[in-house]
């Protein structure tokens, strides 16, 4: 399968507690009027400017091995390798919020409106991550349509730059995925454009394949620690 998927800005539930949490703000914090105004403006701008879209493209395990290997710079031991080998289905993906929203963030910073730029960037980063979940949900529906047994599977996204998959892996991933028709491109520095874009592999299979002990050497320096929440929700 290879599908271009269009989402609506409303498809992403903007979880206020999670967005503020990503800024290090506790749920019970007493926020200033200025803060509330900027937050509310950022939400409005997101709804107005986001053009979420994505591409999901199935890939065999043997072909993905080559993609994952990339330039041969992955960590020798990493969880992704163990997980994808036990998967029921794999798909490369890229999702984006579009160029207009990313440009507005830059524009706000350039105009000296730092607080609004920071807030819109924060809301957009959260939304871009959530788009991965939407792409995973889309894939699960497709798989379940073909085989009802897939309804019990869990589909999770893994991206270059995380969990021992070296960022240079983006090059091979883009070479195979060819997401150009969604307007997503990759430059020499492995930076995706538009900025608010996520790419990687969606790994589908029984929930337990996604479980691992997060004690790899690179886990020490990882600040995201998103694996903990993901595994808790399996």
């Amino acid at each position: 399968m290879r599908s271009i998927v269009d989402f609506a800005p409303d498809d992403v539930i903007l979880d206020r507690a999670a967005i503020l949490g990503s800024q290090g703000i506790p749920g019970d914090a007493d926020l200033t009027d200025n803060f509330e105004r900027i937050y509310s403006e950022a939400i409005d701008l997101y709804q107005e400017l986001a053009q979420p879209a994505g591409i999901v493209s199935g890939i065999t395990i043997s072909r993905f091995e080559e993609v994952f290997r990339g330039e041969g710079r992955n960590e020798p031991a990493n969880p992704v390798e163990d997980i994808f080998r036990r998967s029921g289905y794999l798909a490369l993906f890229a999702v984006t919020l579009g160029a207009v929203l990313s440009s507005r963030v830059t524009e706000l910073f350039n105009n000296g409106d730092y607080a609004s730029g920071y807030m819109l960037d924060s809301v957009s980063s959260f939304a871009a991550d959530k788009l991965t979940d939407l792409a995973a949900a889309y894939l699960k529906l497709e798989l379940t349509d073909k085989d009802p047994a897939a309804s019990s599977w869990r589909v999770l996204g893994y991206s270059p730059g995380y969990c021992g998959w070296h960022i240079s892996g983006q090059k091979k991933l883009f070479e195979v995925l060819r997401p150009d028709e969604t307007g997503i491109t990759l430059n020499e520095s492995c930076l995706m454009s538009p900025i608010k874009t996520v790419s990687g592999v969606l790994i589908a299979g029984p929930g337990e394949i996604h479980e691992f002990v997060n004690s790899y050497p690179f886990c020490d320096t990882c600040r995201a620690k998103s694996c903990i929440g993901r595994m808790r929700n399996l």
Binding site: Q23, N34, Y118, M119, L191
Partner: protein, 213 residues
């Protein structure tokens, strides 16, 4: 309320236009630029920093205050230069060669300016040589580098090595940051410091300078 107190209070609330207007007012009333800077603007930013550390306010509030500080500095800077009053310190900052990520670096630049430092922002994709040549030309006190990719981090070491070659090492302090960068990496390449976020970067740069210098 005294004029300098009004400047401080409005800065804390992020009212940039009001702060600029009050600063002009203070200049017209012959209040010395250094006094406006110390007892109005920096006094206000100190309160903001304290509240931020105590989690009474958060980064967007600090950024509003920083913008207000910058608007006042537009008024004050020519006068400070004319009077030969030294600014707090000069920082050359940029995202390293082949790294086009700049939000984090921009935040650090904004917060440093807000804290009263002069910031020369070289932007992103900055070659190692550019950091060094600018630091030399501008007599900078600090070089700040950001990298968001593991592939671009080695440029940071190149800058440190060039600083050694050019005799800047030790004289110009080098601070590094960015998602894949760590304290251990900073130590390994010979940088003076690592900062994990914008507020920490300001604290670290401030620690390089004696109080009120």
């Amino acid at each position: 309320m005294e004029l300098l107190e009004q400047i401080s209070e409005n800065l804390q609330n992020g009212f940039d236009e009001k702060v600029a207007a009050l600063t002009k007012d203070a200049v017209e009333k012959q209040i010395h630029p250094k006094e406006i800077l110390q007892n109005g603007l920096i006094a206000g930013m100190n309160v903001v920093s304290k509240k931020f550390k105590n989690h009474d306010i958060f980064l967007p509030d600090v950024l509003l205050a920083a913008r207000a500080m910058n608007s006042a500095m537009e008024v004050l800077k020519p006068l400070l230069i004319k009077e030969g009053i030294p600014i707090r310190g000069k920082v050359v900052i940029g995202s390293v060669k082949d790294d086009l990520h700049d939000i984090g670096k921009n935040l650090v630049a904004i917060l440093l300016k807000g804290a009263g430092f002069e910031v020369i922002d070289l932007g992103n994709d900055v070659p190692a040589e550019k950091f060094i040549s600018t630091a030399m030309e501008e007599n900078a006190h600090v070089i700040g580098m950001s990298a968001l990719l593991t592939t671009t981090m080695p440029v940071m070491k190149k800058v440190v090595d060039l600083a050694k070659d050019e005799g800047l090492y030790g004289r110009v302090r080098i601070i590094v940051g960015g998602a894949p960068v760590s304290k251990e990496y900073a130590l390994e390449i010979g940088a003076d410091a690592y900062s994990y976020d914008g507020a920490n970067a300001v604290e670290t740069v401030e620690s390089f300078f004696p109080v009120n210098s």
